[in-house]
Amino acid sequence: MLEIRNLHATIDGKEILKGLDLTIRAGEVHAIMGPNGSGKSTLAKVLAGHPSYEVTGGEVLYQGENLLELAPDERARSGVFLAFQYPIEIPGVSNANFLRMAYNEKAKHEGQEELDPLEFDDLLKEKMKIVEMDQSFINRAVNEGFSGGEKKRNEILQMAVLNPHLAVLDETDSGLDIDALRVVANGVNKLASKENAIILVTHYQRLLDYIQPDFVHVLYKGRIVKSGGKELALELETRGYDWIRTAVNAA
């Protein structure tokens, strides 16, 4: 589903990703961990097509096609979804209008029927149940005045509405209370299927208690420096990153 080969990316001339390799097959859940500043969000945003990042080398194949050639909205319509680490507020644009427009753009792309406001309302209400979000959020401006945890839930709501093939969740668990963590995990587990793949960027084992990853990777200094099964996350939890740093810096 996703194949990243020797990816190099810079922001403002500074190289952040320095030859990253990662292969993800349909049906898999991958966790990416790593110290602060190692490039995890950078990878997520490069995959989503953020205009501030420049890809200076390597390639990314998504469903066999060159992902980097697509504009951000085309990537989204073809099923790539990024739940942001820091979702921004968009004053003046209502959650409902925004979500319906996003949903219909994707429906159109897939040759499916677009929904009118009433039809969409039904769908939205159902999806809001999954993330246990209050109906009052429907008519509020996107993320405006939302608490940190509410913003994260809203990201998962968007994911539930758009039903992506490849979801990249950048620290969606940070800032969530215990109940919200379970809710978000539920939302993610509902999406997980044989056809879909999920990348979880996280710092903590907790989330992985709810969502079992097939693979765990450590991203450090812009590269995947270690990969393993779910036991790697447990090992990191007890040992920290120093042993990895030492190994990488010695090599």
Partner: protein, 444 residues
Amino acid sequence: MAQAAREKENYSAACRAFTKTRAGLDQPWLTALRERAAESFQGLSFPTTRDEEWKYTNVAPLLEKQFRQLFDLDLSGVQAKRLESVTFPEARESRLVFVNGIYAAELSNTSGLPDGVQVANLSQFASGSDQFPEAALGSLADHENDTFTALNTALIGDGAVVRIPRGRAIEQPIHLLFLTAATEQIVAYPRVLIVAEEGSMATVVESYASLQNESCFNNAVTEVIVNPGASLDHYRLQQESERAFHIGTTRVRQEQGSRYRSLAISLGAEISRHTLNVEHRAEQIETIIDGLYIVTGSQHVDNHTSIDHAHPHCQSSQLYKGILDGRARAVFNGKVFVREGALLTDARQLNKNLLLSGTATVDTKPQLEILADDVKCSHGATVGQLEEEEIFYLASRGISSERARALLTFGFAGELIERIGIRSVREGLDRTVLDKLHQSLEVE
């Protein structure tokens, strides 16, 4: 200069012709007011960009055009469908319609208004026994110093008069609609007088629309008196064709404990100017003046406002927002005076502009002059573009960048449109604004 003199002579001739037409039709006080204004007009000249107040708005293109004033009602250009698009159901039985400056009784209907509320054409008062407008008309609009006001006053014919009786709260919004619908270039002189008597409450929508694409000129003057304890919501909606010219002046006088809220929206016209002055005559007054202008192509919009805080314990707030695309240009000049002794004044003013193109320009000048102590005042202006991060966020959900821009721009305007208390006006504007933005941003 010879050119300017010729233009003035054209308008003077129009004044003379008009006086002749109206001879014998009006009360002496109205004739006298007209004559005084015509005389002032003789001594005044049209503003040029050398005048401080008109520095950025050049009216020469407007003066060069030959406009004709019509005297007979002609409804041939008013199709029912188009009329519907500029009226709204909440005021179906509480509206006055003027076509090309002339009162159209067959399109007007005030049957839904409670007894005692006066909403009528000025000439009804001018020829009848009720001399009510005599004291108020011309008492605020400065026909001695303002050329356009002098011209409008010298040519007062039909006009809208609204009087909300003491202590009454009127539910239905009152709609005053000024249409231009002609196959030639015409000029009209819309005139409005609104008097909210003590303790009354009402909503008035004053709107200007063109039903044709022909260039026309509206020179409009509105006077508003908000008496003690009264509350008035005043929407001013200018959605003329992009070939129109619009010069509008609104003068407001507020008395003790009154509340006046205005939302002035400018969407149309090649060149439009709205001057809004609010004068406080006593204490405990609340003034809210908001504005929204959306200009594209080569449109030019100018808003000049002033609020005169002359007494203690008064509040004012102002938010004017502008969206500009193409080579459009906007001028904002907002003066807030806090006079000596106007203690505990609370005045806030903000002008925010959103530029959608690199070729649109804004000249904004929020001015605050404080001569009193112990006041709370703020003012500011911003000129910015859409946030790249916001566009990316929407794009990351599959929304094309063109649509994202339209959605965000619409959101910028939405803050003000949401404040409109009349549902179908609000929804109608949503559509109009979205259409206009989509056209300009070339979204399918």
